[in-house]
């Protein structure tokens, strides 16, 4: 079955309400095939959240996005201007976590943008992993969009705020996605921490 991630980055009046509102919508989320929803809250931009929904659904993505579930969700959290939505699939994941000393949850830096060539990007990231480790990068997830083969969403977990700041100010040359974030439909770089995860069973 088609497996995808739907993600969007937007501002809400009160991020603290988001977990409860999500929990109360588990049935509607189950109806669209959602199995996990992960919410990150910005640590630098008050009210900004990144919401990622993992979905198993055989329907075309356009039909899925047209579902009332999304419109009702934006209404519930108080979002009038509906943000652009990323829809794609995981194409690469690297984990540089020190398994003996994993440390506290890190900082998430996320980008949605367009790159020259996704497979080349994945190669360059793998080639740069030693430098990523030195920079404090723990994990990197690369998602490729369904609607545009050059479009990506990249999530990185970084050890702490200082390392995240250094990474943003002076990213590795392999992290070409850092340059174009915030252009056109793409949101600026997101910097935040894990806020909440909802697991949804088929019985919800």
């Amino acid at each position: 079955m088609h497996s995808l991630v739907i993600a969007s980055d937007y501002r809400v009046p009160d991020p603290a309400r988001v977990p409860r509102l999500l929990e109360s919508r588990k049935s509607a989320l189950a109806d669209i095939g959602a199995h996990h929803v992960i919410v990150h809250a910005s640590t630098v931009d008050r009210g900004r959240v990144l919401v990622s929904i993992a979905v198993h659904n055989p329907e075309p993505i356009v039909d899925l996005l047209r579902s009332r579930v999304f419109f009702e969700w934006f209404d519930a959290v108080g979002v009038e201007d509906i943000p652009a939505v990323f829809a794609g699939e995981l194409v690469d994941r690297t984990d540089l976590t020190d398994t003996d000393n994993p440390g506290p949850p890190g900082v998430i830096v996320a980008a949605m943008t367009s790159v020259q060539d996704v497979s080349g990007l994945v190669e360059r990231v793998h080639f740069a992993l030693d430098r990523f480790r030195v920079a404090g990068i723990r994990k990197t997830w690369i998602f490729q969009a369904f609607d545009d083969p050059r479009e990506v969403m990249i999530l990185q977990e970084i050890g702490d705020e200082n390392s995240a700041r250094r990474w943003i100010e002076n990213p590795d040359p392999a992290a070409e996605w850092m340059d174009n974030a915030g252009m056109g439909a793409y949101p600026p770089l997101f910097v935040g921490k894990f806020l909440h995860m909802v697991r949804i069973d088929e019985t919800d």
Binding site: D63, E80, I82, V85, A87, A145, D147, A185, Y186
Partner: protein, 59 residues
Amino acid sequence: MYVCLCKGVTSHTVAEVVAQGATTTRKVAKACGAGSECGRCRHTVRAIIKAAPTAPETR
């Protein structure tokens, strides 16, 4: 990125019609449908128009 959920229009499509001369949200809606239904995506359409290489109006 899916810009208009009502019509399923992507940022790629919006950028294309902007490049072809749709330099206002009204023209974009007419050219590809984005923003023509509930209108809640028009701020993203404006951002795409603004980011286009030419400097168009955004009404």
